[in-house]
Structure formats: structure tokens, C-alpha cells
Symmetry: C2
Subunit: 361 residues, 2 copies
Amino acid sequence: GKLFKVAVLPGDGIGPEVMAEALRVLDAVEKRYDVTFERTHANVGGAGIDLEGRALPETTVNICKASDAILFGSVGGPKWETLPPDEQPERGALLPLRKIFGLYANLRPAIIFPSLTSASSLKEEVIAGGFDILVIRELTGGIYFSQPKGIEGEGRNRVGVDTMRYSVPEIERITHVAFQAARKRGKKVCSIDKANVLSSSVLWREIVINIAKEYPDVELSHMYVDNAAMQLVKWPKQFDVILCENMFGDILSDEAAMLTGSLGMLPSASLAEGTFGMYEPSGGSAPDIAGQGIANPIAQILSAGMMLRYSFGMVEAADAIDQAVAKVLDGGYRTRDIYQEKAGEKLVNTKEIGDAIIANL
Amino acid sequence: GKLFKVAVLPGDGIGPEVMAEALRVLDAVEKRYDVTFERTHANVGGAGIDLEGRALPETTVNICKASDAILFGSVGGPKWETLPPDEQPERGALLPLRKIFGLYANLRPAIIFPSLTSASSLKEEVIAGGFDILVIRELTGGIYFSQPKGIEGEGRNRVGVDTMRYSVPEIERITHVAFQAARKRGKKVCSIDKANVLSSSVLWREIVINIAKEYPDVELSHMYVDNAAMQLVKWPKQFDVILCENMFGDILSDEAAMLTGSLGMLPSASLAEGTFGMYEPSGGSAPDIAGQGIANPIAQILSAGMMLRYSFGMVEAADAIDQAVAKVLDGGYRTRDIYQEKAGEKLVNTKEIGDAIIANL
Ligand SMILES: CC(C)[C@H](C(=O)O)[C@@H](O)C(=O)O
Ligand SMILES: CC(C)[C@H](C(=O)O)[C@@H](O)C(=O)O
């Protein structure tokens, strides 16, 4: 059978609890398919700071380097919020991981599960039947990483500077990811930019239009980022794949995720060229409910599913996970975050919903 | 009596129709208060391009320079969309106007009128009782105007570059605007940044914290822009004044405006140091309904009200306009964009709702 090496980075807050359920799902996949997931645990985020002195310890990087994929929990919490930004769990772990492993393509699905439409703060008539958006965000370029960046000068003469820079190859490769994803879904790409103001966006739009010619079966549209922030609220169903540069993708993917009302349910993938990738829930570490065994592990389990799909080519097993989650939700199982005290709902804890998903695999 | 000079720039699409109603409201104010508004009309946007060869003709700039304030309609439409970005009506008129007149403080209210809560795509329970957010956006700095900006290199070696730069005085003056506004309202400022990634945001946050010390009566909080995009959707009532740099303000003010469901109702002000300002609706030129006399003039009328308040110090008259609009809405008057076929609603056209507002002044 096949063997895949997984670096397991549970992190902080609810990270370890929800990771435990995802690992049990991997156990179940091992039993049903001829595959072994060799797992190595490593510290990251606040756990990295507390145990090894930094958010992304050297040991952790080496374990990731020796693996086929990273399964990441979540990081951060009040304990580390007063550290300098560079050293904080989120920034100090995520940005270096993205850069070191060249994780240039961030896939963030924003899906409303039909049985959970009422969790959204959008009106029933706006989201009836659910929606299914995939935000593809460029993750290693743009204003996050370009130089010059820094604070120049002294005292009141100081100036804060950041640079948003995109090269043609950077735009090309993320555009291919978006069009290839769209091909397997609704066959529409909406490319976001601010080409009426930004030069990087003018180049972005030109290159996207060029690459689109290789995908005549996929429909391309363009939208300014400010308009996109509005259209998501107005009529999210108009979108299939949304293609963004790094900063716009940060903002719009979070907006889209919140519109689903089920932030605790959304996985994400950050892919390098080749098959390496990092997989993590879109939500945060929820320190307020950590350690109580009540957190929703679905985002972490679906992230493991994305790992099977994108890094290990196990499409069937990934589909099985997605379907098991949908069945459990249709069956009324609800952790506290998605419990609405409606008829047919069963309030369950982290482990119980994990059990239900495994039983449905 | 007093005399104020107003440069009237109706622009394109519904601009001229809704401007006509705002000017009738100014006539009514002249009759009730001891004041004269000397108006000079000028071309802008597509009208500028068609009649004088550019979106912001020299004559128009001179008329604005000779005025105490600019009342701006709206610009743009399909006819001019194929021009190069720099020459298009919106970008070609708005960005130079902001720069020439130093309009550094953009005030964008996002208000749900209690009688129109059902127009929002947010659930009734999320917006019950309405909400009232004021986005204060820095408008002459940041990634819109900083250098270097452009496309370097040739062919596939090209790189698109933009620069986000903020100096201490730029941050200080917009922060004062936000705190002074908050003082007259809910006494809360939420400053938006991305200080975990951007150096300009690190400086932004430090300066905002410093200036806040001069306003001990106002509560300051900070939020990352991605989180703000989520929190607006989740619970808009948590916000009073939102303070943003240029690009974040562009995105979040539009998101907040759309959340009200009444984009055609929202005015905006762009203020220079001193009393000069430009006043315009937040919505667009709506070319699809232009010329039919059915557009909603409320945003334009409220923009004229903001002009009285901020440039002419006529607080009482400005309040009277705001109240007249609220009364007309409570009375059930609805242009087509806000008509919901409910009991008590009267479907009216542009001129009829203008008449009703004037009658209530
Ligand atoms: C923590 C932060 C640096 C990060 C980002 O801005 O990319 C986060 O918001 C995300 O979206 O993964
Ligand atoms: C037209 C465009 C340049 C402008 C901006 O981005 O500022 C517009 O979106 C606005 O918000 O006034």
C-alpha cells in the first residue's frame, strides 16, 4: 500500500482537540483504503513559543520538510498578543511557512451547507439553496512579501512603506490554478482587482485575460475589489471561483466565509508547485472554548479531506469525507457553535460528532 | 445674508436628474434661511469627455477653485468603459479632484433607516432597529497615490508595482477627523489596519494610539481589515466610527453601504483642510435607469445636506434636510429602487419624492 508522511501541527486553543478528530478520521481512512499516514507531531504558534522559544521552531520546519503535507490546526490566543507582530503565533508561523514551502495557491471554499442556511446572517431569500464559492488567493507575493517594506526616518518624520509587486509568472501560475479549479466546478472565474487605481492590477488583469484563452470552456469576468465586497453581500450565488491577489484574497475570503455563517466548518488548502500543501481550518483557535471538548472539528476534518484530494490524489476518500460530513449535518448532529435548538437537532461534543462522521465514512 | 459659491457637477447617467432635486432643495433652504447659493454648472466624467475632451476639463477645475464647495453627481457608464483607466470618467475625474483640492478626509455614512430595514440582505434579527456607521477614509495617500507606481520591464519580465506609504502627519490629521466625528456621535472609533503584515499599518496603529490620548472621552479599538470585513457582516451594530487608510476604506465603506441595502440613499463628503469639500452620492450613475425620471435623489439631497453641515456651517438646515428625508420615508414614499409593495407604500418618481422632501423641510 501507499505511504504518506504528514507533519501534524495542532497549535493552540482548540487546535489539539479538533486535530485529534481529524487524525481519527485518517485512522478510519487507513482501514478502508490501502494507505498509511505516517504522522509526526510538531509545535507551532503559541505552543512553539512556549516550548521551543518561537512560533515556528527549526525542528518543526525540518519535520515539515521531511513530510508530504502539513496538517495544521490553529494558532494564537490572548497569551501571546502582546508580543511584537513578527513573533506572534499567527504571523510568526504562517507567513514563514508560506514562504519556505512556496505555498503560493490558497484555496478557501466558502460553502453554505443546505442544512445550515439559517446560520448565515444573510436573509433566507438571498441564500436559499445554499452557495458554493471557492476563493483562490495568491499567497506568497503582493504587499505581504514585496520590498521595500519598513518604517523609514525618525520621530514625526517617519514614513511607513509597503510594496505591492507582481511579476508575470506569479500571476500566470495562480491564474492557472483558478481556471483548473473552475473547470471541475461551475466553470466561472471572477478575477478581482483594482485596475482603475493599481498598476499591479493592470498587469494582473492583462495576464489573467491572456491565460483565460487557454480555457475557452471557462467564463471569465472581472470585478473591482470594492464592488466584489458589495456583490458578495448582495448576491453570493453569482460567484463560482473568485481569483484574488494576496491582500484582496485575505479580505474577501474572510468576508465570504463569514457570510456562510459557519466559519468553524470551513477548511483551506495552501498549495506549492507539485503536490506539497498545507491544510488548515479557516477559523481561529477559539481560546474561549479551548479544552472543553465542545469545539467543532468539521473544518479540521474537511482540511484533512483536502489533503487527501490535493496532496495525495485520493479523490475517492476525500469525497467520502465530504459526504460523511454532509450526512452527519443532515442527520441533525450539531456542536454548540451551530446548534439552533430546532426540532431534529442533536447537541453533541467534539468527540461525538467525530464518531458520527467516522461511522458515516 | 450669507453667500456661498457652489460648483455643480451633475455628471452622467442619473446624475443630472438627481442633482435637479438637490438643487430644488437648496432653493427651498434659501427661502427659509438668510442665505444664497450661487451655483455654477460644469462638466465632469463622461459629460466632460464628450463635451470638452476629458473627464476633468480645465474649466471645471477652475470653476471648482472659484467655489466654496463642490456638489458632485455621479460619473461613468458603458459608453466610456473601453477608454484607458486613466481617462475613464470615474478614475479620471475623482482621483485628480481629490489630489488637486487635498480632499484627504472621506466621510461615508452607512445608515439603515428604520423604515427600510427590510431592504438589507442581512437578517431582520441582525439589523433590528437599524444601524449607523460612519466610515472615515483617508483619501489622498496610501497605495492610491504613492510612488513608485507603474509597470516595469518588458514582455514576460514585466512587474507591476504599487506603493503604500503613510507619513505621520497624514495619519494624524485623518485620526483627528475620526475622533472629532466620534465625539459628536457614539464616542467609539474602531481603527482598521493590517499591522500583522504591513509596516504602514504598524505606524498607523502607533499614531492612532497617540492621538487617541487627546480624546479620553472616546473609546478606541483596533481591528485587522480581514476581521473587519467579517464583523461588518456578523454584527454591524458593534461599530460607530470606522477609521481606515485609503484602500481599506474603499473596500469596507462599500461593504458597509451595501449591508444597508439602500445604496441609492447614502451621501458622502470629501473634506480638505479648512471648510472646502466635495459632496457626492455613494452609489453610481445607474445608466440603466437614466433619463426616465425614476431614480432615487435621496443620496444627492443628503449630500447637499452634508455640504451645508461641513462646508457652510449650517447645522440647523442640514438637520432639517435629514429629518425631512426621514419623515418622507416614514410616510411611505418610495422610488422604485426601494419599493417593496408593502401596505402603506406609495411608489413615486424622482420629482415627486423631491417635492415631498421639500414639503417636509
Ligand atoms: C495571520 C495573518 C498573517 C494571515 C494573513 O493575513 O494571511 C491570516 O489572516 C490569514 O488569512 O491566513
Ligand atoms: C472610482 C475609484 C477610483 C474610486 C476609488 O477607488 O476611490 C471609487 O471606488 C470610490 O470609492 O470613490
